[in-house]
């Protein structure tokens, strides 16, 4: 009883009866051997041209084996488990009389590059990462040709066995952060891992988090900029997003456009974003506080026009605000989920019917419509999506405080938020800190 038939039987047992498992024997006048692979993830052209055709031209087994071994990505398995894993990820097992060879013939269908969808820029590189990790690594290597760039890969997820790569510049990276990260990655126990945001949750200790402490991006240029600043990139097989850490608050408010535009334009854009942040956080709460508690703060003309606009509204200001904000959230959520072909319906229905009809019915004041649309627009000025979601939620506690304590509540809420943010750490780096200097 030789080794291979045992191994072969083990592999066949493990791979089980499955329709896409291909197990065939090839016989030529000189030799015979068996192929074992999964058809759906292997490239049949590669198998035909690089294994089957040469097989019939070779005269003995040793020549053929040497020929195969000269291909990159072809080697002898370390163990049975290793060969099983590799077969599962697109290798062809070539069973000789007394040993096995594994030949890389994987075919990935998601390798095509597309333009960035979530984080678009006007000028500057347009391509986004793809869902295939080798393509992504290629994109990075292609743009960052420094020899100190390191790539470390590992597997994560008990069932999904996703490939995970750490990329960093060995010269710039903070090795303390790197060690900490590796230790945390070793301790992660999870069945499936589909997106880097899941990984974000696994890496942070707190159970309930709102503010993202790592950047989540699909842009290779942002990844490269951050690598050169000494940060670590985490790439995951099967998702076009990568995770950048450690990140500070201000990173979430810088778009790649800031670097690509002329300097003054860049500063202007940045200021605009902080103004938007302020507006989207403060406006709803300020409306509640200023109409319900402290109308005397505004100059008289303004206070009167707000009061006049609210004259027909039958309920208190906080109900009005919560109603409109709730409808706005529904509208936003609907327009994300809707298929593209009916997407414009949501905006038309929402904009026209809600905006126009609600005011003319006297349910909502005109000023409220202005505030809601300002909030909605300025919320999406934030370049990194996960932050805009966080800020979308943050305005509700402020509305609550403002409806309890008026404008004082709003100020208290803002102070509380600032101190909460300053208390956060992203891998030991203070999250919010003014005059933040990178090394």
């Amino acid at each position: 009883m030789d080794l291979t038939s045992q191994n072969k039987q083990w592999l066949l047992d493990k791979l089980g009866p499955s329709d896409d498992l291909e197990h065939r024997t090839m016989k030529s006048p000189h030799m015979s051997l068996e192929l074992l692979f999964i058809t759906n993830i292997c490239d049949s052209v590669v198998i035909r041209e690089e294994i089957i055709q040469p097989f019939f031209q070779m005269h003995n087994e040793i020549d053929f084996e040497n020929y195969l071994l000269s291909f990159p990505g072809c080697d002898r398995p370390a163990s049975n488990v290793d060969s099983l894993n590799k077969i599962m990820s697109g290798f062809v097992a070539i069973l000789f009389q007394d040993h096995i060879l594994l030949f890389q013939a994987a075919q990935i269908k998601a390798a095509a590059l597309s333009d960035a969808q979530v984080e678009a820029t006007i000028q500057g590189p347009q391509t986004a990462f793809s869902e295939h990790i080798d393509t992504n690594l290629n994109l990075i290597r292609f743009r960052y040709k420094n020899s100190s760039l390191r790539v470390e890969s590992r597997e994560i997820g008990r069932l999904s066995r996703s490939k995970l790569c750490l990329l960093y510049d060995d010269m710039n990276v903070d090795h303390e952060v790197l060690d900490q990260l590796k230790k945390k990655l070793d301790h992660i126990k999870v069945d499936n891992l589909q997106s880097v945001t899941e990984l974000h949750q696994l890496l942070t200790k707190q159970k309930y988090t709102l503010f993202p402490t790592f950047i989540n991006t699909e842009r290779p240029d942002r990844a490269i900029l951050n690598i050169s600043q000494g940060k670590i990139i985490i790439m995951l097989e099967g998702t076009p997003f990568v995770l950048i850490l450690p990140a500070v608050f201000f990173d979430f408010y810088s778009a790649m456009d800031d670097n690509y535009q002329l300097s003054l334009v860049g500063y202007f854009l940045q200021c605009l974003r902080y103004v938007a942040l302020f507006l989207s956080l403060v406006l709803p709460a300020a409306y509640v506080a200023l109409t319900a508690y402290n109308p005397e703060i505004f100059r008289v003309q303004l206070a009167l026009s707000i009061a006049g606009s609210r004259a027909s509204v039958p309920y208190p200001a906080y109900v009005e605000v919560l109603l409109m904000l709730g409808l706005m959230e529904l509208l936003l959520e609907a327009s994300i989920r809707l298929p593209k072909s009916v997407g414009s319906t949501a905006t038309t229905v929402g904009g026209l019917i809600l905006g126009q009809a609600a005011t003319s019915a006297g349910l909502i004041s005109n000023i409220m419509i202005i505030i809601v649309s300002t909030v909605a627009i300025s919320n999406f000025v934030v370049p990194v999506n996960s932050m805009s979601f966080a800020m979308r939620i943050m305005k509700y506690p402020l509305v609550l405080l403002a409806s309890m304590l008026g404008i004082t509540g709003l100020v208290l809420g803002l102070i509380g938020m600032i101190s909460y943010l300053t208390n956060l750490r992203s891998f030991g780096v203070p999250y919010l800190r003014i005059f933040f200097y990178r090394k």
């Binding site: 505004f298 600032i418 208390n423 800190r433």
Partner: protein
Amino acid sequence: MYRYFYYLVFLNMLANIILFAPRILISHRFEGSMMAVVLSIPLGFTLLYVFVTSIRKFTGLGLPEILKNHTPNWFRIPALLFFITIWFFAGVITLISFSEITKKFINPDISSMIIVLAFIILVGFIARLRSETVLFSTEILIVMNVPFIIWVLYKAVTNPSMNYDACMEIATHIWNMPTWDSLAAGTYIFTGYTNLAIFNRLMGTTKKMPFLWTIPIVGSCVLATSFLIPIGFHGTINVNSYMYPWISTSDSMRVEFGLVERVLFIFIYLYTNISLAGSFIHWHVCLELIKSLMPRKKEKSYFSWAVIGIMGLITYLLSYLFNDESLYKTGVLFLNIRLASEMLLVFVVFMIARRIKR
């Protein structure tokens, strides 16, 4: 890191407006306040200078560690207990008086108990965070508010209602001898440095603080403005009839083309930030001092919550007892004791620093 030292000092300079200092100075304006202002600049700065140069000799150590290493227990524990009460009351008085102001000028229809409670919860929440975090928050609050405060001051100085003759009239009383009250109120603006008792742990390794000379200059400007501007606005006699002279002064100004016409509101929001920052710093120092008294076994998170809870409860109960007049009297008393205890603190640290040099 040394810029955080200046934030601490500067924050206190700004917060003095809330903590009765202008009112004390004004009430003694014919009896030596001017002299007190002039005297308190060298006095306050000397204390500051001696304290800072002494404590900087202990890199990375706070007051509790210094006392532990160099003094016997019978001295250390009463001294720390004393300073804990001082720091605690610094926070309490700012909190209660500011919640009174909020109640009077912004939210007359909300119960003052709720306002005090909201302030206590927020300040308590921040005070128990890490020292680093407290400093970062302070920095952000200062950087965001100071430009507007300077703008308000500019509006005050250039205001047509500002009567410089009244200021000159007060200035002629310079030769009257100062009272302890007014001296204590005057030196209060420099007091921010005492927070180094804890924050010295984070101040890095630079032995000498650069730019110390700017403090007396800025300090004298702050002192002069916070004392003289209300007098210029309200006149030498009437100014004494205001409970919070600076709030009333800011209410005398208006922004003609602004969204908010009355400067009062802008001023109060700016000072909500400043005074809350001041009180959470004081409470943080207090909490750290209390922590240092505990036998160090294991840091338990519920311990600091418990301490903060007790501090909050005491403050809440105290806020029942005070009315405006008794709060003012307590404020005066506090400032007086504070000056003496500050001298004691400086003296202790100075003596220890001298002893290790030999």
